[in-house]
């Protein structure tokens, strides 16, 4: 296993007065696509938000490239090279697609070659380039959200449930896009409920339950062990055959 780009050690976090995370241990290996799995309410989304500095950390240590980032402000964490796509995608619906992309390029300018690559990856963006992003369909919004995250080279992408509510054909398109990113050795931490999608893309995996990481290892290991899946994720035997 390669070195960890991001590591969480016994991280506890609160949202308002509720304790959500009770000591999360997680390592995201550099250059791999890591799947963060678990049932609803296990704390997956909160883990991502905590990494981004959007919750109150009450204990533990978060390190990125060996540097502690615990308790830092969200913009500072972003500027260290972490991009985050939240569950609701966070598209600015009153802004045009172009304006959404312009903001995402923190450096101020979009690299034309990179933009071309992204537009090839997600062709609908070009078609609606100067239209308000609010007019996009759900799948197109997800494409825009991911496009925003990769408009500049980032060290790490955190993506929360990109397949949620999307039609199978669009999920396939997204999977292709992720394959491309994998080939470029981009480090990604993906929260997913869709196990087929996870199995297809994931290299390593971590499973959460009740605010903790209860299992971590390689995706192949998890994919081959029906017992483990049943025990960790409550998946029925053979459900996803």
């Amino acid at each position: 296993m390669s070195e960890a780009l991001l590591s969480l050690t016994r991280v506890c976090a609160d949202i308002d007065q509720y304790h959500i995370l009770h000591g999360v241990d997680l390592a995201v290996p550099k250059g791999e696509l890591t799947m963060l799995l678990g049932r609803n309410g296990a704390g997956k989304s909160t883990t991502l938000r905590t990494i981004m500095g959007l919750t109150t950390v009450t204990g533990g240590d978060i390190r990125f490239q060996g540097q502690p980032i615990t308790g830092q402000s969200t913009p500072r964490i972003v500027r260290r090279g972490i991009a985050f796509v939240p569950e609701n995608m966070g598209i600015f619906s009153l802004l045009t697609v172009r304006e959404n992309m312009v903001l995402a390029a923190i450096g101020g300018t979009m690299d034309p070659a990179r933009l071309e690559w992204i537009v090839d990856l997600f062709p609908p963006l070009k078609r609606f380039w100067d239209k308000p992003a609010g007019n996009l369909s759900g799948g197109q919004k997800q494409m825009l959200a991911i496009a925003r995250a990769i408009i500049e080279p980032r060290e790490l992408l955190l993506i929360d449930e990109p397949t949620k509510g999307l039609a199978p054909a669009i999920i396939d398109d997204l999977a292709d896009a992720f394959e491309q990113l994998k080939r470029q050795q981009v480090t990604i931490l993906l929260v997913e409920q869709n196990f087929n999608f996870s199995r297809r893309l994931g290299q390593s995996a971590a499973v959460m339950n009740d605010g903790r990481v209860v299992w971590s290892g390689s995706m192949t290991e998890l994919a081959q062990d029906d017992n483990l899946q049943h025990q960790l994720l409550g998946l029925g035997m053979g459900e996803h055959q």
């Binding site: 959007l54 913009p75 972003v78 939240p86 966070g90 619906s93 304006e99 903001l103 923190i106």
Partner: protein, 353 residues
Amino acid sequence: MAADDARIDEPTGRAGPIARFHAFRRDKPHIFVLLTMMLAALAMMEPRIWVVLTISGLAMGAMVFLMASGMTLTFGLMNVLNLAHGAFISLGAFAGASVLLWLSTQANQPSLWTNLIAILPAFCFALLVAGLLGLVFERLIIRPVYGDHLKQILVTVGGSIIIMELIQVVWGPNELPVPRPDALKGAVFLPEWLPVAGGIALEKYRLIAVVLGLAIYGLLSWIIERTRVGILIRAGVESREMVEIQGYRIRLLFLGVFIAGSALAGLGGTLWAMYREIITAHMGDELMISVIVVIILGGLGSIKGCFYGSVLVGLINLYVGYLEPRLAAVATVALMVAVLMWRPQGLIPVIKL
């Protein structure tokens, strides 16, 4: 009226004139109200008077726009209701007036260029002082109460009292006469050959106010529509958290907008001071009423709405002020009530509200 609006939902395309009228009223309510008001006024008075009143109304609207734009932006972006905005107007007026009095030799020469030696520093000083106060005010008074409207109203009212009292400490409790620079006095005459409006005298200062107001509206629109900061502001109006997730410090953006809005209020105050030629510490309280009517009319948070709201307020003030001077203030508020009943969100609302 409102009920009609809800019913009409026809697809665009071929439609009769009545349906087109309804569609126009629904899609461009600001133009509709503006035209209705101007035509109604035209029907009630001589055309020549109407022209003079319209230009004067636009001048007043331009000044009110400067004062209101900052308040509508701080509300739209930061969800902060700053009731001390009127005190910023007063402070700007006193700051600008001080410079004009200090440079009164230059201000009293008949040459425009010599006058500008007094006017430009007066504007700059007003912008600077009001902007600085905005900085201090945001840090000390508003920062602790983000997200709590009740406390915002209370502390900004308290802050307003303190600023107005401090103005009286520094400049004394009495009214301060302000000299209008010589080149801005007097009137220009429209050429005789113009139909209807030929030979009408228009006060120079009002024309300058209109030009300045339009220029600043243009500048603000350009910043908001075209520049990166503008995109950021519009994004912030939609979702503050998402702006942070994109890597921008929203607090800094807040602070910047607040300072800019305060500075504009100060500039508006100086313009108003030169227009009225006499100022008091409490002038901001009265202007606040116009500002409030403007931002409710226009829709909180919208610069375009703020512009049209200002024009409407300026025009109705002048029209009604001519027909029945005693009812000018009442008519302004009545306009607000009427628009609120018709469109509770204002003429050009920002969707988040």
